[in-house]
Symmetry: D2
Subunit: 232 residues, 4 copies
């Protein structure tokens, strides 16, 4: 949604300050985009990742499952503000909205791709969700507070959040979450993040890649085969 302006030059400035005696403001104004790109490449190669922290990106992430958000918030070097199941009523697109368009089950829950192949499972899943949705409304109508009624909501219930991460942590998180062994939903979140970074800077987006691209080998127990396993 928004990000540090002029991110490549911001990272390069952070690097240059350590090795130059010039005034910071002069360094910044003199720094050209192509020099900045070369400097950032060298930094990365040498493993000097601190300057990448001077740049942050903020994303609005919508309609992911609570399973996915639970994994996402485990990245501790990041800032999250998430839709509350205590303070919002689940199942209404917009509280107090005048719209009376019915909200479909598909608008409220994630449907894992692996369910799609089994029509009987899809039917049972829908029935289960409908039962839960009615029970949730029933609880609220009996005076149960939303913070307790949410105990029945499944992991697949949609949530939304705003996430701010600096670019160093984005590289780290992507190295884990873009791995073929990562869970499909969080991998798709990071694929989307990579696309958004590409729109800002194709150059920077290339730093968002699975860990095997960085180390040259795979350390997963079950490898996807993209890179060889490390001999111990």
């Amino acid at each position: 949604m928004f990000h540090t302006p002029d991110p490549v030059r911001a990272i390069a400035l952070g690097a240059r300050v350590s090795v130059s005696n010039k005034l910071i403001s002069d360094m910044y104004s003199e720094l050209k985009e192509d020099e900045a790109i070369e400097l950032v490449k060298r930094l990365y190669k040498m493993g000097h990742h601190t300057p990448f922290e001077h740049v942050s990106f903020t994303f609005g992430i919508e309609n992911i499952s609570r399973s996915c958000s639970h994994q996402l918030v485990r990245h501790r070097i990041a800032s999250f503000t998430q839709k509350s199941q205590r303070y919002t009523r689940f199942g209404t697109r917009s509280l107090g909205s005048s719209s009376d368009k019915r909200i479909e089950i598909e608008d409220l829950y994630v449907f894992p791709p692996s369910f799609q192949k089994h029509p009987s499972i899809l039917t049972k899943y829908r029935d289960y969700l409908e039962l839960g949705r009615r029970l949730y409304e029933d609880l609220l109508s009996k005076g149960i507070p939303a913070e307790d009624a949410r105990y029945i909501l499944p992991n697949s219930a949609h949530t939304s959040l705003v996430m701010t991460m600096n670019f160093r942590e984005l590289m780290h998180a992507s190295s884990l979450r873009l791995c073929q062994r990562a869970q499909w939903e969080i991998r798709s979140v990071f694929e989307e993040i990579k696309k958004r970074v590409f729109e800002v800077s194709p150059f920077l987006s290339e730093f968002l890649c699975p860990k095997c691209e960085i180390t040259g080998y795979c350390n997963e127990e079950k490898s996807c085969g993209r890179k060889p396993k490390k001999e111990s």
Copy 2:
């Protein structure tokens, strides 16, 4: 479960090093428990909280809901390792256990106290959980991986985790989570934490208290009335 040995003296040592020219090892061996207590009291009063970070506590937290664990892991200055819904099969106390004792619904899910007053709700809640439990087994038997089958598990499904927090962060987290306005389940986790700290050090456990005890006023929109609201 475990904690930094001799925690009061460890905090006091951390404080004393800043203002003394003695050797650290001498300081530590000379430091008496009652002096340490006085020093820690003064530190706290002056807002010097860094020395409290030299002490960590590790807790095993079992059979809380995923709602509760989602809140808990939002404390970023802490270390968590949590039971995975990707790598464990839900609903079995112990994989490969020889025990054939049936596992009851109550062993697997949290029952919010507000549900208890409504027998009709309890019945519907149980039916819903039983349906979900059968659907989960059904999914697994159709070859759906556990990482997708878990999408149907409700927030109330039990989880367990090991949490390590330094004492400064324990004070901070407790100031929020022991507030009467905190959600009941996470408040009960912190009440239990306070009891465990009391077993180690009654003195230290007193630093675990709601924020209004520290500031002298309440900043919640809906106050429990324990302390006056702050005039702006």
Copy 3:
């Protein structure tokens, strides 16, 4: 030097996502500056400080002492890249610069105000700095590496750094460093930071204030008298 664009609305968006069912992109486009200001005021009053983390500021901080930088980098929730005394040669404004203007002692070291009142001290301080400067050059000419020659540089030797801090941490650091009891040099750094934030948003700059303005009392051992001491 640079900061998250449109910072007040960015914080307000982070807050609104927790309590609204609207799409994040719609929330953001609909959010008006004056609403955002009201929302941010309420957040702050209620102690919900996480949304303030969605906004970061980056500052170029020049010609401060190493004493000051040592205190500054103790703020751990921040990113610093600092002029290295290993990789730069001290005492040259700009390596390889064509300028042959002599660099004065005043261009290289901080002169504490308390020294200014004593002409005899100023003379001795200058003599000491000149001796050190010659010794430093001497060491380098004997082949001592810069990383060892720097051991003789005094705390007052100038350094520069680029610092990125999110706004929540800026509020916290300012609460400590704008206190009258804070050391004069770091206090002046934060006074300058507050001015720069004022240029971006006069509204946000008001959140940067000494801790006593927030709590209403003083917890320092020696109070400046601005606010009463807290009765224990």
Copy 4:
């Protein structure tokens, strides 16, 4: 000085909780040391480093230079309390001590090994330090506060600190600071840290090694030759 008790089993427990359905207390009591060792080895190999955070070590680090401490405190995932140059008077081993043994220059400052080879440099260095020491006393006697008098202290002036780091961060910091290209003083601090960890657990101490031992290649611009450079 102190550390989490029984550290190998503590790490292994943190790992086991994610993949087992047993009670945490049962897991812990059943976990044997040799199983724990095997589990920790596998964790490390797979890059699952979070469980290593459940274990912390606290070290008293004495008589290092301020250059070294400035580098040390840049590790942000750690807790430091350091001797203050504001609140202690430099050059007195122990304030108010009855001892009248003269404190030698060698007791107060670091002497870099590279100085030792040049007797003329050693003489000049000593003269410079003596001059600074007299000036420091002079400043205090004129009523200059210690927080300003310290501006003349050189980087080589001794400082002490208490540092607490979790084991994951200890592994990370060691990977950088045990590199042959790291600055000699901080490398010697980490060599000493490794020895102290060895006294607690020879097994764990092996995880403290330079980064090239982990990745198999060197990414420094000037390599020591221990491992080949990475082909890009």
